[in-house]
Amino acid sequence: MKRHLISAADLTRDDAVLILDTAEEMARIADRPIKKLPTLRGRTICNLFFEDSTRTRISFEAAEKRLSADVINFAAKGSSVSKGESLKDTAQTLEAMGVDAVVIRHGASGAPYRLATSGWIDAPVINAGDGTHQHPTQALLDAFTMRRRLVGKDALGQDLEGKRITIVGDVLHSRVARSNVDLLHTLGAEVTLVAPPTLVPVGVETWPCEISYGLDEVLPKSDAVMMLRVQRERMNAAFFPTEREYSRRYGLDGERMAKMPEHAIVMHPGPMVRGMEITAEVADSDRCTVVEQVANGVSIRMAVLYLLLGGSEPAVTTSTTPRTEETK
């Protein structure tokens, strides 16, 4: 694996499967009475959040703490950033305090890449979501959830070959969609994006996926349907006429869900806008994996942190021994 995790597109199939396998081991920790590993003891990780995010930040924090790392949370609001400090100065300040890794969420696409490649700091950088670019750990936790549900819990070493994944909603503004298209393609899945034409980026034709403007025809051929959040304010910029029209054409309700194959699952990266892209009936059904995705997010982030930072000793002292040197 590379030294940083910036984009899902940077991961090879073997990298991705290694992370998923490692996450399975990490998931087992959650079933123990003491949910903690000593792996990153004495290491300091900074969660550098320039954009409001509760769930991703807490998920990273939980993962870091379960690996015994020391955690510093930095939220840009109310900090020196709001007084005009640059990303470069903020990052260098944190590194001077001895931070071993930076988890960054930033509203500007490419900010984590800049941080990792501009020589501003030496620490590994993990992208926790940048603008409308990438959110690689989200894609990994989604893939993890799909593999568990569609392949099985004993799927170690396996990818998502041939699985048909449908991603529905605001693709244009979604880093989740971009990351998922990249990673799912790498893992052998067949991806279809469904959105009104206004919410698909110009230039999408080179992405390794299909595009459909209609949801109903795709549902029967889907093993998983991932609903993306659609912000209500998008309609003010004329991306669609009204909330109701969006919901009628692209929302997932019980009737539509019934068109999906029996084994198919419904996913959502959260936060859901109930009544917009998803009805309560679907959100609360057994086929919906939203809560699982959250739990899996912690395992995936533990795996990523372990592989990028730790790795000198086995993560979990049980059956499969994770790789050591080569995983750094």
Binding site: S86, L87, K88, H106, G107, A108, S109, G110, A111, Y113, R114, T117, S118, D130, G131, T132, H133, Q134, R175, R178, P201, V202, G203, V204, E205, T206, W207
Partner: protein, 428 residues
Amino acid sequence: MSKILIRGAKILGGEPQDVLIDGETIAAVGTGLPADGAQVIEAAGQVLLPGLVDLHTHLREPGREDSETVLTGTRAAATGGYTAVFAMANTFPVADTAGVVEQVYRLGREHGYCDVQPIGAVTVGLEGKQLAELGAMHESAAQVKVFSDDGKCVDDAVIMRRALEYVKAFGGVVAQHAQEPRLTEGAQMNEGIVSAELGLGGWPAVAEESIIARDVLLAEHVGSRVHICHLSTAGSVEIVRWAKSRGIDVTAEVTPHHLLLTDEMVRSYNPVYKVNPPLRTERDVMALREALADGTIDIVATDHAPHPHEDKDCEWAAAAMGMVGLETALSVVQQTMVETGLLDWAGVADRMSSAPARIGSLDHHGRPVSAGEPANLTLVDTSYRGVVDPAHFASRSRNTPYEGRELPGRVTHTFLRGRATVVDGKLA
């Protein structure tokens, strides 16, 4: 003033000849001219051009002297072989009054490295609402003939129409920054395959093309002349070509960076490639080169846009748009146009000196290299190959996209009215 004999230079790339400068004027052109007490510059193998003229420079003074001043900008211009630059109006305060344009004009004259011809704003404060006092700027000591809200588009069709009409009274021209504002809200780079992947807000080609189409039709309707700044797309080329074939009085410029770089560079997220209009695709680059060669695009203009380091040493979205260009323009044109066989040196002299002087109504620049003409000259060692090192720039700013890139050609001497402003590649 003393005499200078430039010996054996290839005028516009032709056969070697001698050029004798006496005072501010070219006294003689021929072979075997006697030195006769003149200072001799051995120029065998070098190409002699009329001093370059840039119709699109941002000198930043007044207001942003941290990025450039008239002094540092004109020193950069001289280093790049320019003897005249047109200074854009988007300063602080905006050059929308006779007072500001006269200040900029006088600073250029005082420093003496390069003539500075101020461009006046079309509208007050570049706001696009109310015409600035175009007549007053024209009648000032600066004698403004070119008007532009560059940096912003005159997007209101009525204001644009009135401006086009109004400047006819004194032979002025409006230079349009063609950017439909609504289509480019939040725009960060060319809209296409790369922007889709990078998740950066798209600046669609149609936002430029729709304004150019509107403005050539307006120019036709009111019988005015219009100039298009930094044309950047293949579609814009087609529109200008169509307009010219129809007899519409339109001229257009292209920047060196749009002749060389593409939006693929943005994959680095390095804001040194952030510029407005944005870097486009390979297809656009090729169309622009062809259009410059066949005359659809009239001139090369640098859009030299200095920015302080901190405005580029940051994340993409936070960075300023623009690149410095005066000191690399001729090299980029040599690489993209001359060495590709699209343009000979006479063509370069036209696109970078005579035509911009003509569009900007600058009488004493862009003249033929012949006896009796003003001695505004640029001598180029075209065989030179060197790596761009911004540490050596005369400009106060370093935001070049060519750092570390090998480019051909080097200006060895620049003469402004017979006085050497650059000698052996160094400022005199």
